[in-house]
């Protein structure tokens, strides 16, 4: 049985260079080889999407099957030169936190978009 994941973050707004913190809750447990997380800078244009830059967690959040109600802290380093989101007529650029349970068959995923505030300059 595949697990059901819920991703919560301490807040939605983050500054470049900060560590994005939150938790992953296994609302329903299930078979899993590994639970991982990464920060992704994504680009989307007319139905085409890709990750332009990614920052994986230093280590897997968990290895092995997930039990009902189990919860795992996550911490990801937002790059110091992380650009803020941008939305133009042809597409948009944005950051999101993605978690993935590596399973036999289709992986279970959860994601949450975050707001990166523009860098402060003197």
């Amino acid at each position: 049985l595949s697990p059901k994941l819920e991703l919560t973050l301490e807040r939605d707004e983050w500054a470049p260079g900060e560590r994005v913190r939150g938790r992953v809750l296994a609302v329903e447990g299930g078979r899993s080889r590994e639970l991982g997380a990464q920060l992704c800078f994504c680009e989307a244009s007319n139905g085409y999407e890709t990750v332009a830059h990614s920052v994986p967690a230093r280590a897997p959040l968990h290895t092995g099957d997930l039990e009902d109600g189990s919860s795992f802290p996550l911490e990801l380093a937002l790059p110091a030169d992380a650009p803020p989101a941008w939305s133009g007529p042809g597409g948009r650029l944005y950051w999101e936190v993605r978690v993935r349970s590596d399973e036999f068959g289709v992986d279970t995923k959860a994601s949450r978009e975050i707001t990166v505030v523009p860098p402060r300059r003197e």
């Binding site: 332009a52 830059h53 030169d81 650009p83």
Partner: protein
């Protein structure tokens, strides 16, 4: 970058969009075909016909081949110019600084190398072009293509009497920042251009990297 991926965020994608290989290949094929037809027409016309009865028909065929060759050459030249506008070689442009934040000012230095070639309507500008992916449809298939549009431009008239001209531009604080992506890119540059009637503008440019 404080992460495991060494490259800087938003740099090093594959999308350039400034010169599609399709246009380049099409232009070369049309130019080669056009030159072939033109050469055939000229050689055929020069050799003439030994038979007086068919001389008129052969001359007509030669002229048709020559005209058709010129038509293909013109199409090839248009395909080439569509992908790559003429370079205004009598100008050189430099941007200082070449990397700046939004809200910052960039100085465009335009050096007029050959004042005799300078035409009317010369301008220097700061331009941001957005490259984005779209799905296109043919009768039997769909495919991805890149299109582009100008999302910011500001132009100042050039006074070509001076050999070195400095023009300052401000990158708006709410403008897009530079991004080299796969499906979406924003390229900034300072450009000197000459507007020309019924022909593509000639231009020369220098890239600028705009940080958030």
């Amino acid at each position: 970058v404080a992460g495991s991926t060494p490259k800087r965020v938003g740099r090093g994608g594959g999308q350039k969009g400034s010169f599609g290989w399709g246009n380049r290949i099409l232009a070369v094929m049309l130019l080669a075909g056009g030159l072939g037809f033109l050469a055939w027409g000229v050689v055929d016309y020069a050799n003439g016909s030994g038979d007086a009865a068919s001389e008129g028909a052969q001359a007509a065929a030669s002229i048709f081949a020559g005209v058709f060759g010129l038509f293909l050459i013109a199409l090839g030249a248009l395909a080439w110019l569509k992908g790559r506008p003429l370079r205004a070689g009598h100008y050189s442009v430099t941007a200082s600084p070449s990397e700046l934040h939004r809200g910052g000012r960039v100085d465009a230095a335009v050096r007029v190398q050959d004042p005799a070639k300078v035409g009317e309507g010369a301008e220097v500008g700061l331009v941001c072009r957005e490259y984005y992916s779209v799905t296109k449809h043919t009768k039997n298939s769909t495919y991805r293509d890149d299109e582009d549009r100008v999302v910011f431009e500001e132009w100042h008239a050039l006074s070509p009497a001076q050999p070195l001209i400095h023009e300052a531009f401000t990158v708006p604080a709410d403008a897009p920042y530079s991004h080299d992506g796969t499906y979406l890119s924003y390229h900034w540059c300072v450009t000197a251009r000459e507007r020309r009637e019924l022909r593509p503008d000639s231009r020369t440019e220098a890239s600028v990297w705009v940080l958030p």
